[in-house]
């Protein structure tokens, strides 16, 4: 049972009771306990967000005071070819890596859910890449593995296949980053596993009594009851993928190369802000990214009405 669900039912229960005073006193205590979190939210999140919104309407080179220029930064984006390239790269990355990653996570969760001996061990092993995946160390490792003299080419050479520099070719560089993201399927897998555990076994018992095949059970019981989890993972992973930065930064040496083929939106934002002293423009880019992610999340929620099944 999730803590939020519990909270939800608690407030429902209290609705009928007239003890207003007690409730208020409780609220004060709650706010006091929440104070550190509010402070963090204000100082670390809201404050910088507001200042970045203001900066997005300025020309700000980091070293001198910002100059107000209205919507110029946003207008400039329309004709910035590198920005358009970075959008293309990012969309491709999100739309390929997220479905593949979730498919993989679900498949393995189903496999592990069948009562494998040593489940805890496998769960940890598969979860490990999620912890490491966005680290600098793994990105450096990736660069070696997919290099001209890397592990992948050595493996291919055993079958007499001549490999290539996967990271240094614009056709394959993004592919290696997609594989890296798919490899971190452990986090959604664990959430899928938790979801699978919550599906009451009586449904399956009833179904098999009626002679439903395993596939049929999966399609008509597991999948519908799992849709809220799938939805949750989808929303989260899309947001996560849009924000990818470290992998491309390390693998391309901070340039988004070769030939801008790994120029993620966030990487281009960083280059504009910190390498080209163009922090006003970078701030505007950050807000456009927020809008894009917001739009995708909104579409997701709207579409969810048609395919997500809530059992509450």
């Amino acid at each position: 049972m999730s803590a939020l669900g519990e909270l939800h039912s608690l407030t429902k229960r209290e609705k009928g009771q007239p003890k207003v005073k007690v409730k208020h006193r409780h609220n004060k205590a709650a706010y006091l306990f929440l104070l550190p979190w509010f402070l963090g939210l204000g100082i670390i999140t809201i404050g910088p967000m507001i200042s970045s919104l203001i900066l997005s309407f300025t020309k700000y080179n980091l070293l001198q005071a910002p100059k107000f220029i209205g919507f110029d930064n946003y207008i400039r984006m329309l004709s910035d070819e590198s920005l358009h390239q970075s959008l293309g790269v990012t969309f491709l990355y999100v739309f390929v890596s997220v479905p593949v990653q979730l498919g993989m996570a679900l498949a393995l969760a189903l496999l592990l859910d069948r009562g494998v001996r040593g489940l805890a061990f496998y769960r940890s092993v598969f979860y490990l890449p999620s912890l490491l995946g966005s680290s600098v160390a793994i990105a450096v490792l990736w660069k070696q593995v997919f290099g001209t003299e890397g592990l992948v080419n050595q493996f291919l050479a055993m079958f007499g296949i001549a490999g290539q520099g996967w990271i240094s070719s614009p056709q394959t560089a993004l592919g290696t980053l997609i594989i890296l993201n798919v490899w971190t399927f452990g986090a959604p897998m664990v959430i899928f596993l938790a979801g699978l555990r919550q599906i009451p076994t009586m449904y399956y018992e009833a179904a098999s009594t009626d002679g439903a095949s395993k596939f049929r059970q999966f399609r008509t019981i597991t999948l519908p009851l799992l849709t809220p989890i799938i939805f949750f993972n989808l929303v989260l992973q899309i947001i996560h993928a849009f924000q990818s930065f470290t992998q491309a930064f390390i693998v391309s040496g901070g340039s988004g190369g070769p030939a801008e083929s790994t120029l993620f939106y966030t990487l281009y934002l960083y280059i504009r802000g910190f390498s080209n002293f163009d922090m006003g423009y970078a701030s505007a880019m950050a807000w456009v990214l927020l809008l894009i992610i917001g739009a995708f999340t909104a579409i997701n929620f709207w579409a969810s009405k048609h395919w997500v099944f809530y059992d509450d």
Partner: protein
């Protein structure tokens, strides 16, 4: 009963939380105090100066020794060093500067000097008065650290564009070293092709140019053109840039230089992973001061050659790097003392030799001569030998001009992978560079 405790509200909340965790932060603007006259009194209290530089392991070890020597002479001053490779250095310095945290002593490059100076981040060194003596530097070397009329940087050394040749690869391939005073680009293409053919993928005739501005500046000068003019405008002709990439493309297609994919993989690894350092290229384009570091990495006999068709005033002396101080330093007197130690002291020069370029300070240059290693001597000799062929200095790179490196890399990669014609690349490059400068 409710099977899955995953409510609409919970999912929505989590998604919102994740979305709002987006990093939207940027650092606030800051005031830049202007220095008063003179360096002021040295403090007798403990003082800490921060110092930053880019460079290889050799430089790191040398600089630490210099710091130790300085701290021994001035026990109350503590130097806190930080260093990184070239690529990471500038991102870090920009961030630190924006956060009002600029190191007191900064190793500076000509590409970035005016960017930082124009925006008030650097101390006007002439305000230090006698505390920093520049009288032993030739006027041209002093002037190279000026933006407008103010001195923002003092030259750490001089360097010139060159080719680093691996003599054992030449021997292996059975090819004679060229006469570098008379050779042409045609000779270059033929020689490198022969070497690549004999190497059969084990080594190549040359590593590609196209990832930094030295090669383009040289090409421009050879074609009666120049990259920037005195007013900081991009004046290079599209035709010049196009022909530069045409040549590179031809060299790649004939196999004279390594294939595009190898070039790009090696290029991102810095000096120590370059084809020259790993003995996979007979010729590589480098600033001549890098010979010592390259020789250490390669372990083989490396020799400096002039770039083809570069006689008759095509060459220029480039300040290899500068020393600058932050305009926000709290310890002007101590910063001046340390800068003076770096530029004028025999002790620092004896440790550093030519690793930061041939010292611009003429007294120091003479004083260190007996201590030089073979490669150091070659570096100095190359520079001295050029003196008759050195033409006008390159104009100051305008603020924003540092973007040239990233732009060259982007378009060179696109050219090498046939994603864009050399004509379009040249057009795009000039357009992009001009707009970065206007920003």
């Amino acid at each position: 009963m409710s099977g899955v405790q995953f409510t609409r509200r919970a999912a929505g909340f989590m998604a919102f939380a994740a979305a709002s965790a987006l990093a939207l932060s940027a650092c606030g603007p800051s005031a830049t105090p202007q220095g008063s006259e003179g360096a002021g009194e040295l403090s007798s209290e403990p003082v800490t100066l921060t110092m930053t530089w880019w460079g290889n392991d050799t430089r790191q070890a040398n600089t630490q020794k210099i710091i130790d020597a300085f701290e021994k002479a001035h026990p109350n001053i503590n130097i806190e060093p930080s260093y990184s490779d070239w690529a990471g250095y500038w991102d870090k310095l920009a961030t630190e500067t924006a956060a009002n945290n600029t190191p007191d002593i900064i190793q500076m490059d000509a590409l970035y000097l005016s960017t930082y100076a124009d925006r008030g981040a650097l101390l006007d060194l002439s305000s230090l008065g006698d505390a920093l003596n520049t009288s032993d530097l030739p006027q041209a070397a002093v002037d190279s650290g000026k933006v407008g009329d103010s001195l923002y940087a003092v030259s750490a050394g001089l360097t010139a564009y060159s080719l680093v040749a691996n003599t054992s690869i030449f021997q292996q391939a059975g090819v004679e070293l060229p006469d570098d005073k008379t050779w042409t680009w045609k000779d270059f293409a033929e020689i490198t092709k022969k070497i690549s053919d004999s190497g059969a993928g084990k080594y190549y005739g040359a590593s590609a140019y196209g990832f930094e501005d030295g090669a383009l500046r040289m090409w421009a000068r050879q074609n009666g053109d120049q990259l920037f003019d005195k007013d900081g405008k991009v004046v290079i002709k599209q035709e010049t840039v196009k022909s530069w990439w045409d040549e590179l493309k031809k060299l790649t297609e004939t196999g004279s230089v390594a294939p595009a994919s190898t070039t790009i993989e090696k290029q991102s690894g810095g000096l120590s992973e370059s084809l020259s350092a790993t003995n996979q290229a007979a010729l590589g384009f480098w600033w001549n001061g890098q010979l010592t570091a390259l020789s250490k990495a390669s372990g083989q006999d490396l020799k400096l050659l002039r770039v083809p068709e570069s006689s008759g005033g095509k060459y220029w002396y480039k300040p290899s790097m500068f020393w600058s101080a932050s305009s926000r330093t709290q310890h002007k007197a101590e910063a001046a003392l340390f800068l003076d130690f770096l530029v004028n002291s025999q002790e620092a020069a004896d440790i550093q030799l030519t690793e930061r370029g041939v010292p611009a300070n003429e007294k120091i240059r003479t004083a260190i001569t007996p201590k030089l290693s073979e490669t150091d001597k070659a570096v100095v000799a190359f520079l001295d030998d050029l003196s008759g062929d050195v033409g006008e200095a390159e104009p100051v790179t305008p603020p924003g001009g540092s973007a040239i490196e990233a732009l060259l890399k982007k378009y060179t990669e696109q050219v090498l992978f046939d994603q864009v014609s050399t004509d379009k690349a040249a057009e795009g490059f000039i357009k992009d560079l001009s707009s970065e400068i206007q920003n």
